[in-house]
């Protein structure tokens, strides 16, 4: 078997079928949306920060798309709780792929990293580092 079904190990299918932290938060500190225009994957991430304005207290995601994009969003939200924004910005695409625990075929990497990019861009917009409407990964 090639990359395809290796990509769909139990963990990914489980998170796709039973996404964790799915939904929208009331009064999030910040909320941001991203998409892969060519795939149609969309992810929105809502984050509530603790009083220190740095620690992620609550997180939720919503969206639509392929199993890889949705499962990585679900897995990421589990990691994010308790993390600081500095730690969030330190995450790179290898961290996300490690988190998924499977090899991701080159054409699908953009699906895997969408949620991470949305969270990071959302945080940067919140702290005034830059301004964009929607995150896109290619």
């Amino acid at each position: 078997m090639g990359l395809g079904s290796d990509m769909y190990r139990q963990q990914i299918l489980d998170h796709y079928k039973n996404p964790r932290n799915y939904g929208e938060l009331e009064d999030p500190t910040f909320s941001h949306t991203g998409e892969n225009p060519t795939c149609g994957d969309t992810i929105r991430i809502d984050i509530v920060l603790a009083d220190d304005e740095e620690t992620i207290e609550r997180v939720a995601f919503s969206g639509d798309g392929c199993a890889i994009s949705q499962a990585s969003a679900s897995l990421l939200t589990e990691q994010l709780r308790g993390m600081t924004l500095t730690e969030l910005h330190e995450l790179d695409r290898d961290d996300v792929i490690d988190m998924l625990g499977v090899e991701i075929s080159p054409m699908r990497v953009k699906c895997a990293v969408l949620a991470e990019k949305v969270a990071q861009d959302g945080a940067k917009i919140h702290t005034g580092e830059f301004e964009i409407d929607t995150t896109q990964t290619e």
Binding site: M1, G2, L3, S5, Y8, T38, C39, C66, A67
Partner: protein, 414 residues
Amino acid sequence: MKASTTDPLDTERIRADFPVLQREIDGTQLVYLDNAATSQTPEPVIDTIAEYYRTYNANVHRGLHQLSQEASVAYEEAHDRVAEFIGASGGREEIVFTKNTTEAMNLVAYAWGLAELGPGDEIVLTQMEHHSSLVTWQQIGKKTGAEVNYIRIDEDGYLDMDHARELITDDTAMVSVAHVSNTLGTVNPVADLADVAHDHGAYIFVDGAQSVPHQPVDVEAIDADFFAFSGHKMCGPTGVGVLYGKRELLESMQPYLYGGSMVRKVTYEETTFEELPWKFEGGTPVISQGIALAAACDYLDEIGLERIQRHEHALAQYAYDRLTEFDDITVYGPPGDDRGGLVSFNLDSVHAHDLSSILNDHAVAIRAGDHCTQPLHDTLGTAASARASFYLYNTREEIDSLIEGIDDARTLFA
């Protein structure tokens, strides 16, 4: 002896002409069902390319040495061969070699559209246009102030011809339509649309990228003013496309690409341009690809386009019937007995990209995504779809492999 037009194809013999079809993916025989994206290349076409580079590679039009003469004659005659293939009686003067269908579309949009269009003019497209046509005319509309309108499709994926007759008016300058939809498989009534366009003094550009490879096409019977297609979807190489234009139209248009090859007399102040079609082929043209495209025309004609069409039609019907057996599969476009050789669909529980990845484990190659028709997918209410597209070498057994792969995906995601 050439086979009769009704003889079924001997797919086993045809498959032997295509070396890549012998490939295995991780030990499983390749099932190639992505022909609407690009077709595979038969030995005679590969040999033509190799022979060119091995024996007479030279630049065309200008050299007086033996190799250049041979290359020039072969390249120029390739235009005549392509003209014959699509029924263009004007021969080479009506055939411009471009990079692909998109470039052919841009050539007309820039050389004709920028010069002729302005506020108050209208361009009519269909909701099922490929981005090659849709994006090009949309952007030319923005540059010129011309308005772009889209002929609606009905729920079965047919063009709403009443709406077409409503949209095409005396203000319409250009009607640009896909001959066969690369997503829905709909075969559009392009000759009827040409009549409507001409009744209102408009031109019609037919995008034949999904028709010329698969069925006999006669541009004069359609009465197309412009017609375009790509070599790599019809057993030819990548890098060559074709623009057909009625001679008087091409003559009236200014060049699109300036430079070498397309000129006659150049001074520091002025330039006079070459005759058709060379005035539209600036720079060293697509020599080996053009010659190989003519070889692809020979290959397809030898087998017979009617037979290929019949074969694909049967495959599309079979695929449609097998896919519609399942309640959790949505098939887009017209019924199985009335479509080109492709089927786009979605499996309810599995995103098209996930499905394609799983099918890859069965060595089944399909396309997943928006197929360069994002607005059409918006109209269909989905971001992406899976598409199986067939050609002369495909078999019913390969469609069975597709269905088995889909079963596997369904089980995995259950």
